[in-house]
Symmetry: D2
Subunit: 359 residues, 4 copies
């Protein structure tokens, strides 16, 4: 009964089986010279409807900063949101992987970066001025840390602006599957067709043990990737165990099937909660994350009943983040809603219970 995060889950049965299968082979050449790893290029190229370069790594942070290291010079900056993982959750990973490049935090709306803010930031950083960090990239998170989904058009607007100023476009797709499932689009529609240059294609949160793919849409840009991954300690000697996960994950649409379940569980949860008068959903969740205001008695009752979720906020505001996953049991969702309803006063609160500032 865990709604804390999709990273509290294990692996999907198909993924676990693929790892076991890979383990049954007597031997495989190391460092990616195995058939499973070699097969990923064709698989991901089909998935994205163009030739791509693809590289397995084990964590989302590694995917993000190895990807960024391809486009961010030591004197460059990558625009991102203050709420983004690369700014707020990876200590100084971007700096480390780029030899000193800088993530530059911008304000967002719903965890999304909007084109006017980006335009303003580019202008303020005065490209070509030798005193300032040089704008080199922009990184967006799909779905956003606030659970929102960038539309293909929103991405295209950002990317067009970025490319006009020679910035590369990176997408942190830790929950990329949830976005594609929510939009019902093709993976290409919200990546290279919209102008994304490099994608962290997440697997871990949606059914892998620990596997992400760095997808580089312009293969020439990836020329130095293997050296960079090796020096970062992210080249697995037994890489087939990463590749087996990714191979199974994208096989016959498993990844989307898992994400659709995850999103459906969130809808079920949100629909249930929306009918309880003193519970406020901060937005209508389209993917698998919701931010919800509970009155204190409900909050206490849920935690007492053993439901786990994160508190977000500080001295000034406070809210609950609820996350569903590929493995969420509908019965658990229903139990959560029932427990919330049982503890509810049944009356609408007189005023908003908390204030969630824009991220």
């Amino acid at each position: 009964m865990n709604f804390a995060s999709d990273n509290t889950t294990g692996a999907a049965p198909e993924v676990a089986a693929a790892v076991a299968r890979a383990n049954s082979a007597a031997h495989a050449m190391p460092y990616g010279a195995d058939p499973l790893t070699r097969g990923l290029t064709a698989k991901f190229s089909r998935l994205f409807e163009r030739e791509v370069a693809v590289f397995p790594v084990a964590t989302g942070t590694a995917a993000n900063v190895l990807g960024l290291s391809l486009v961010l010079p030591t004197y460059g900056g990558v625009f991102c949101l203050e709420s983004s993982h690369i700014y707020g959750d990876e200590v100084t990973a971007t700096e480390m992987y780029t030899g000193g490049g800088r993530p530059i935090p911008l304000p967002g709306v719903d965890g999304k970066l909007l084109a006017p803010e980006l335009a303003k930031a580019i202008a303020q950083h005065r490209p070509g001025n030798t005193h300032t960090v040089q704008p080199a990239a922009v990184s967006i998170t799909q779905i956003s840390e606030m659970g929102h989904v960038y539309s293909p058009g929103e991405i295209a607007r950002l990317a067009k602006l970025a490319h006009r100023h020679k910035l590369a476009v990176h997408m942190d797709g830790a929950r990329f599957a949830n976005a594609v499932a929510a939009l019902g689009c093709r993976p290409a529609d919200i990546t290279w067709r919209a102008g994304v240059d490099i994608l962290s294609f997440g697997g871990t949160k949606n059914g892998c043990f620990g596997a992400e793919a760095v997808v580089v849409f312009d293969k020439a840009r990836a020329a130095s990737f293997l050296y960079r991954r090796q020096r970062a300690g992210h080249t697995f000697s037994k890489m087939r165990f990463l590749s087996a996960q990714l191979d199974a994950y994208v096989h016959k649409g498993l990844w989307l099937e898992l994400a659709r379940h995850s999103n459906a569980m969130m809808r079920r949860l949100a629909n249930g909660l929306a009918r309880i008068p003193d519970i406020e959903l901060r937005t209508t969740p389209r993917a698998n994350i919701a931010f919800v205001n509970f009155p204190n008695p409900v909050w206490r009752a849920l935690e007492k009943a053993g439901f786990t979720f994160y508190h977000w906020g500080n001295a000034h505001w406070h809210t609950a983040r609820l996350v569903t996953a590929f493995s969420t049991d509908p019965a658990d969702v229903d139990r959560f809603v029932a427990a919330a309803r049982a503890a509810s006063s049944g009356r609408k609160p007189k005023r908003p219970m908390s204030f969630l500032p824009r991220f």
Copy 2:
């Protein structure tokens, strides 16, 4: 029939079962806040007969350079062998993880660093001279890349010298298990009791999917480890799947049992080859690595028969590296010996077939 490397293997059944078991739990809190990860401290403290700090990572490179980053300042150097992994196989990982610290290559004998060479190098780098890289650490590899084993006394001599000059002692224990098995000693005897400060405790080559432990013997020294691992992208959200491997690996001596098998297979192989007149074992292997000179007809016959192993050498010399593993089948060993014997001329060669320089 792969004698190329112990990293061409899969995972031991006990390790695979432990991962499957960890996956059967519904949920676990991420980033190491799970019972398996938390339990490692007690397990490794027992194993090493003192309180240690222990951190799971997925690769040997990560273990090495995260460990070194605790003791190597940006202006410091770590002495190592030219043949060491941190110097020759990890691109510029040490530099990356330490913000610019330098691995300094020294000559060795049998892949081992000896105290007089270390003393000379320390003197040459003039500690306190503000123009030179400051000696800060020494890193040795146990078993060595040439298959040799440091005795407790050899380690103690190096460590005493290092500590007299305030250098920390790091051990790359990618094949630590093979060393303990070969020496029949306690893990403590060739680590902290002999003066080792930080150990990369290898699991991957000896039965894990991909799991290593950084063991820090003076816990105070490890205070910044978690920040460093996070910024390196080596903190797994589903860390229990690393910890499950390590937990099973050290459970009831599995790791030593696996290493003993591996070493025994090498003895069986070496004994077999030693009786063939025109094959030269460069040394008597004590662990699981041998360097062997084959006459060309034998070499060709073995490869034709499907045996895989690495060629070491260059324009001037040439030799074969043979490695056994926890999973090596004695029947494969016997087949290898038989194939070599069958292709042998049955006569002693007139002169040494190749020259293997000291590493």
Copy 3:
């Protein structure tokens, strides 16, 4: 007739003479082993009324980031203002010198960081949380980039808060002399007595060719400085030519005499401009920087008359920055005021001419 910046000046006659004098000596041992450099410790210790460690460098950026490198680990952050030199004018120098540490921009008032903002930022960065940049230092600029002066009490409040959370306190004193002159205090009052740990003591803008001193108040903290300066390429072989500048600069209070003149020229300028009805001084300058709104005709007339100054602003606002220096000629000030008055309409404008947002 240059009011663009105090760095458009040359060197004060006493400083130039000291360099010439140092050049007349036949030889001097290099890299700081000369009497002038050695004498700085005593001189600066007297100046600051306690034993200090002092190191000459040639630029303000070098002083700032070498100083910060003593206290900022690779996983740490230094809080500063968005308008600060280390954030906005030194590209990624902080990152480079610290192996990946991060300058974190905070909002300020008058170019000054205030304690409540710092407290909030520390809390948000959750010290001890292994996902976030660890707060390690705070850097303030005296006088501020907006020309304001931190009082001893303001500094003490920030420093007390910083030290309570184990943050080191760094002061960018590019215009430290102007601050001491404006406050009429002792150098110690706005540095170590108020809690400053490391000071960039500026000389270049106030009469040196190019010389700054890094002053470390707790000498133990400076132990690694010489290695860091050497690897940064900031250890001059002929260091006596830096030291000669600093020696002359602090000799018999020259530095304060120069700064008093600079500040007096700004008062003269501000007083003159304040009497012109359609010119707005944004604040009453206490040191040597003012931000002034001119009506367009005045602006054009001044530039046409050959006066140089920087435009600050963007599409939304616009203002002029005026800076006086140790060498500013009172006649030039008077000419500036006269030219402005001549071009003035003589009438108060109906509404504020521009909007200068808080920095």
Copy 4:
């Protein structure tokens, strides 16, 4: 009477006068936007008989590592000699400026790298192998640290080999003037015409206070230089004082005149010493450095007489390094020779007095 190093000197009168002249101007725009700095491009382009990009910095280390940072990626290595400044005298500057690139020490002869050693090293580092540091550059020192001079042909052979493997060629020209003077060639002959891509053009040791020029022969390669210099803290606000030195230094051949004097003083010294039977010149010096073996009584007599020079060696060997400079007084040279002769036994020693290993 200082023969310790050419960096114990001051500035040449013409250089000092140029700085004074630059200081007499009322103002100059900062950070290189002044006429003296702007004029350097034309001056150096004439000097090198092609269009070059040229950037003033204050130290040789800065020149070396800023130059290297243009061509050395974070995963790349630069081949150099163990005796080179970038390997042995700049702590970890190369690592710092390149975000983790590695200087790789090779053996040399007379302080010179020879093509066969370079070829061997390139092969050993296996370009394209993703486990090894990628060969990216080679750096040679002209004149060498052992006082020898690379001929145009020697440089061309190295450069041809380097370029065939896509390595850039860097020259540490701390004593470039002494080399050009010794060879009587044109500056282009031992730089771009021979294949050098980037030159540290030294001024400090030969008559400047502290000024070096980074000369980039392919201007496109220099596109990021200004950002790199700024983040390193090596962009002087009052840059005209660096540029004035360089401008005067290359004006009407002053730099070569100074170097010719320096070399001539060494010839005078060497010729004098060569006639003393128990003094051994290790080589016939062509530039301004000699290594000399003195019998102990001569050594003691010289030091007692107040002559300063460095001892080179260790427990096993010992020699004296003598360096002349642009300002060396012939009378001092003669006094040195006379003092040596007076202390000499007048007899040839029975066997070589010391052993100087090859660098």
